[in-house]
Symmetry: C2
Subunit: 199 residues, 2 copies
DNA sequence: CCTACCGATCGGTAGG
DNA sequence: CCTACCGATCGGTAGG
């Protein structure tokens, strides 16, 4: 993916590649991998299905790029939020990361939600690039939780790995119930961190 | 579903209906709704695809029954666990419910995992029967969390609804990472409740 | 529970 | 980026 010719094309031809991914993300968010068809994507973009193959080699390639962009977006948002809380307490940093994760997940576009929806890629093996992008993001949380543990914030006897899995599961599960008109991201982040570490 | 003639048939003919559901559950657990085909199910059972229509009216009907059975199974397991902890503290009851939920999810068959996998039914509207069965189970948690809140265990300022959503999200998310050889249900339940309410 | 068949739709390709 | 086409497969039906 993102081989040289493709990149050159998308630079010279403007955003058709991006346009395709935008529509794919929206459709994947709603329907997941198997429900979303190339015909739907093409129709949304306003081109013929066969023309997608001018920009991408396969359906997998389109989905892979959407999913990876989604994870990268959340990753960058969380890293930026942590950078802004450089000297803060582990608890504050944890809350900032949770808020950034939820905010990126729900506040911006379809890529992030599509990532969650598609993550379990069907039964097919998850492509290595997807696993790598995911792992890189999980490392942010590994470090953050280690920080928190060293500061003595974590209950003794708890495994940092299990904590991370429960935590990300709870946050990502919000794609199933979050409604902008009913929930405020700031309040959710505050409630979440209050559960982990009551004042 | 479960109209009289069908029920009569399955009684007289033995477990072919159940056999179909068993294989459907296993396949749905792995592949989800759209990836799982009627041909696969029929082949696993050892019959022709068209014969499935002797027992069920449609693919939706099969999936619906698997999903509902899965949720009912977890529901009953949690209710039984709570009944066995009748006089215990809210914290102990919470831990028992969490343990029962995780145990039902991972320790028994494919129906429960299939339920989680299929829950987001594609883009199609979730059948009313599925929503009813789900809601009935969620009510168990609503009551349990209310109990916990009244006993003063919950952080002030937290919404019981949000707590329930985060909690069930974290528990159900375990279908994505739980491995029997790496995790012990008892330990997971203990760690989970320790997060919510440290000693 | 079977054989035989259906229209619709899938991802992908040929060739321009 | 297009038209035209492909084999494969989907859920479902007819009729026994």
């Amino acid at each position: 993916m993102n081989d040289a010719p493709t990149t050159a094309r998308s630079t010279t031809e403007g955003g058709s590649r991006r346009l395709i991914l935008d529509h794919a993300a929206r459709l994947l968010r709603g329907g997941g991998y198997h429900q979303t068809t190339l015909r739907e994507i093409a129709e949304a973009v306003g081109i013929r299905k066969a023309s997608l193959y001018y920009h991408f080699g396969s359906k997998e390639e389109i989905v892979e790029e959407v999913v990876n962009d989604g994870v990268r977006f959340v990753h960058e948002a969380v890293v930026a939020a942590l950078a802004a809380e450089e000297g803060a307490s582990p608890r504050q940093r944890l809350e900032a990361a949770i808020r950034a994760h939820l905010s990126a997940l729900h506040g911006h576009g379809d890529y992030t939600s599509a990532s969650i929806k598609v993550f379990t890629f069907g039964a097919a093996p998850v492509p290595e690039s997807v696993r790598a992008v995911r792992r890189a993001y999980e490392d942010v949380w590994r470090r953050l939780i280690a920080e928190w543990q060293e500061a003595g914030g974590m209950p003794a006897g708890n495994s940092p790995d299990v904590l991370r899995l429960f935590l990300l599961g709870a946050l990502n599960g919000s794609t199933d119930w979050y409604r902008p008109e009913r929930h405020a991201i700031d309040a959710l982040a505050r409630e979440f961190v209050a559960l982990l570490s009551p004042h």
